[in-house]
């Protein structure tokens, strides 16, 4: 390890902690959110440094991209009428006690981490041994879609639950935020950017079995294109009224379950991908998952139904 990389690590770690502290310390919510977006970007650099390219991709799309957009969007909604309410200040005694408790716990966990053995293979060797049978060259994809596919299946379930949760909220009185058409520059920019983003998503999906990338990375990038279209009023926020829309949300989950059950008919275990079919099935699943994940993330960004029965107040005569 070179001294320069060490300096890099030190600066990166200090920046991360300082950003986290800044996010939580500042009184301005907007400043908090911008710092949080920078925090996401810095995390993706940390993932890159730790050789976690798959995570770097996700963090670049989600942490620095979508989560920031979600937070800004919510802030935009909240700002509409809210006046600023300051945080109530805890007494200095309470703060000190809390800080001491959190710090002590941190030290105890740090001590546990300190005791880790320096060289440790984990399950890595076993993954390597069976990688050739898994149908994916990228070990992370192999774990996600073959060795521990059941975790991924439940995780997709969690995503669908999130959509159902947002959809199940009673509709908000319509306030059309994207009614005014975007300016020329923005419209042109989105017009240029969306095809590029879609292309990148396709690339990540295709690469995913052999190199870092895959359904979630591709889905998150594709969702960003959807958010761009939504925010500039090119597409209306999904209301999940049509069966097709709802079907697209659950497509990945249902396909995953269907593949898992279908292989059982051949005397295999649940989700046991037959060697000869593994690559094909993984690609098929990843493609369907990408579609579902992208749609799910766009719906989550839109954040629920608006009530068509109550026309927006601005539109009232």
């Amino acid at each position: 390890m070179t001294a320069i990389l060490w300096a890099f690590d030190v600066v990166l770690a200090v920046t991360l902690v300082a950003l986290a502290a800044g996010v939580l310390a500042t009184a301005s919510l907007f400043r908090s959110i911008v710092l949080f977006i920078v925090f996401g970007l810095t995390m993706s650099i940390a993932w890159a440094r730790l050789d976690a390219v798959d995570l770097g991709l996700v963090e670049a799309a989600v942490g620095a991209g979508l989560t920031g957009a979600l937070l800004l969007n919510t802030l935009g909604h909240m700002r509409s009428q809210a006046e600023f309410t300051p945080e109530p200040s805890h007494g200095p005694g309470g703060r000190l006690a809390l800080a001491l408790a959190a710090g002590t716990a941190g030290l105890a966990i740090g001590a546990a981490v300190w005791a880790w053995p320096d060289a440790f293979a984990g399950l890595g060797d076993r993954v390597d041994t069976h990688l050739a049978e898994s149908g994916a060259q990228n070990p992370v994809t192999a774990v996600l879609l073959n060795f521990r596919a059941y975790d991924t299946l439940l995780e997709i379930g969690v995503l669908v639950v999130a959509v159902v949760a947002v959809w199940a909220l009673s509709p908000m009185r319509g306030r059309v935020l994207d009614a005014d058409p975007p300016g020329l520059v923005l419209a042109g920019f989105v017009h240029l950017l969306v095809p590029v983003v879609v292309l990148v998503a396709g690339y990540l999906l295709w690469m995913g079995t052999d190199a870092p990338g895959g359904a979630f990375q591709a889905g998150a990038v594709l969702a960003a294109a959807g958010v761009l279209l939504l925010i500039t009023g090119r597409v209306a926020p999904p209301q999940l009224q049509a069966i097709v829309e709802r079907g697209a949300v659950v497509l990945g989950l249902v396909a995953f379950l269907a593949v898992g059950v279908a292989v059982m008919a051949g005397g295999h275990a649940f989700l046991e991908l037959p060697d000869a079919w593994a690559t094909t099935l993984i690609l098929l699943l990843e493609s369907l998952l990408t579609i579902s994940i992208a749609i799910v993330l766009v719906i989550l960004f839109a954040g629920g139904r608006t009530d068509a029965a109550h026309p927006p107040e601005d539109a009232a005569p």
Binding site: F36, V62, T67, P88, G124, V127, V143, F301
Partner: protein, 107 residues
């Protein structure tokens, strides 16, 4: 100090900052960001630990776990934000309603 140890300890530091922020701050947006910072800390500990194979390669299992964890965190964050917006919209509706009643009474 190894790379693993350095980044794992950074993760622990993020965890401490995040938990402190979650408990001491009351604005819901900031609490949601605090939970995400706690998450980032935990994920960093997991991934740092995957960097110890004698062969120099990474252990992909924690990477897959963190990927799943990020998806779960994004889902929960989106739901929390939707709830927060819902609460705000209700509050707005209430103030609108009250204002309209006042106007009616005045008129």
């Amino acid at each position: 100090m190894t790379l693993t140890l350095w980044y794992a300890l950074t993760g622990v530091a993020l965890l401490v900052v995040g938990v402190y922020g979650l408990v001491s701050r009351v604005h819901v947006l900031r609490q949601i960001m605090a939970v995400n910072i706690v998450g980032a800390g935990v994920f960093l500990v997991l991934v740092a630990g995957a960097h110890r194979r004698p062969s120099g390669a990474i252990d992909p299992v924690p990477h897959a776990m963190v990927l799943t964890g990020i998806v779960v965190a994004v889902s929960a964050t989106a739901v929390a934000l939707a709830f927060a917006r819902r609460l705000r919209a209700d509050a707005d509706e209430r103030t609108d309603g009250a204002a309209r009643e006042d106007e009616a009474r005045a008129g």
